[in-house]
């Protein structure tokens, strides 16, 4: 490229910027072991809340603490690297626009609402082990949620096609 890129070179450069942004917001931001931990934790909490309903509040604390640890520890370079992260898992605003962040929040809220509704229905119908079934369903559909969140995390296209 010279000092003034041609329109074709400009379009190629914009495409490159878009692809790099999408790459940085991609699913490989998290080490695979974190997905296993989240899955195991979800099923563990479901089973425990069925077997020991009296531990409900304590389990919520455990879940909240685990979520906070998994969210905030990787923000530190050293702790993140030690956990297997090769980059910060939280994209900068330039990598994830406000619309995408809002969409991600909506997906999370939809997931919580779905679990709550399913749990109420299963209890109403006297289905045994409702929390276990609910948590297993959430873990089984994790690839779907993962795909939705990935789509929501993608940044804007830097190049507009006519």
């Amino acid at each position: 490229m010279g000092s003034q890129p041609s329109p074709e070179e400009a379009a190629e450069a914009l495409q490159e910027v878009t692809e790099r942004r999408q790459q940085a917001a991609g699913p490989d931001a998290h080490p695979k072991w974190t997905l296993w931990v989240v899955g195991a934790l979800a099923i563990g909490v479901g089973v425990a809340s069925d077997l020991r309903p009296d531990l409900g509040t304590s389990l919520l604390y455990v879940l909240a603490a685990a979520a906070l640890l998994l969210t905030y520890l990787p923000r530190s370079k050293r702790l993140g690297s030690a956990m297997g992260y090769r980059r910060s898992p939280d994209p900068r605003p330039v990598g994830m626009p406000a619309r995408a962040r809002a969409l991600r929040l909506v997906v999370f809220l939809a997931l919580i609402a779905l679990v709550a509704v399913a749990s109420v229905l299963l209890r109403t119908w006297d289905v045994p082990y409702p929390a276990t079934i609910g948590s297993a369903a959430v873990v089984a559909t994790m690839p779907l949620w993962h795909r939705l969140l990935r789509r929501a995390a993608h940044g804007p296209r830097a190049v507009r096609r006519g």
Binding site: M1, G2, S3, Q4, P5, P7, A10, A11, A13, L14, E16, V17, R20, R21, Q23, A24, A25, R75, K77, R78, G80, S81, A82, R86, R87, S88, D90, P91, R92, V94, G95, M96, G155, A158, V159, R160, G162
Partner: protein
């Protein structure tokens, strides 16, 4: 650094643009991650990071995770601003070409 007010000569280099774009989307990234993302050798990436560092666009931090040495790269505020301005300039060039193409299209219709 800037040409036409916004176009950044340093970022006209495709490799440097790729490096800065990767770093723009993350708060920090390991040297190895950037190297693999833009498919460069260690020495080639070091050279480009050195150039970007001299411009004040990228800062490096060295440390250890356990006994293993690590280098982390960050895009500075100046780097983010330069990339934003550069992208805006590129979008303007692409949009101008699109507009002038649209203006001339009816005349060239068969």
């Amino acid at each position: 650094m800037a040409d036409r007010g916004e176009l950044d000569q340093a970022l006209l280099d495709p490799t440097r643009l790729s490096i800065v774009s990767v770093l723009a989307s993350a708060r920090w990234a390991e040297f190895g991650y950037v190297r693999d993302s833009v498919r460069l050798s260690d020495s080639a990436l070091s050279k480009q990071v050195g150039t970007l560092g001299k411009l004040g666009y990228v800062e490096t931090e060295k440390g250890y995770v356990g006994k293993r040495p690590r280098t982390w790269l960050n895009l500075t505020r100046a780097g983010r601003e330069a990339l934003s301005a550069h992208v805006a300039a590129l979008q303007r060039i692409a949009a101008d070409a699109e507009e002038s193409g649209a203006r001339h299209r009816p005349e060239t219709r068969e």
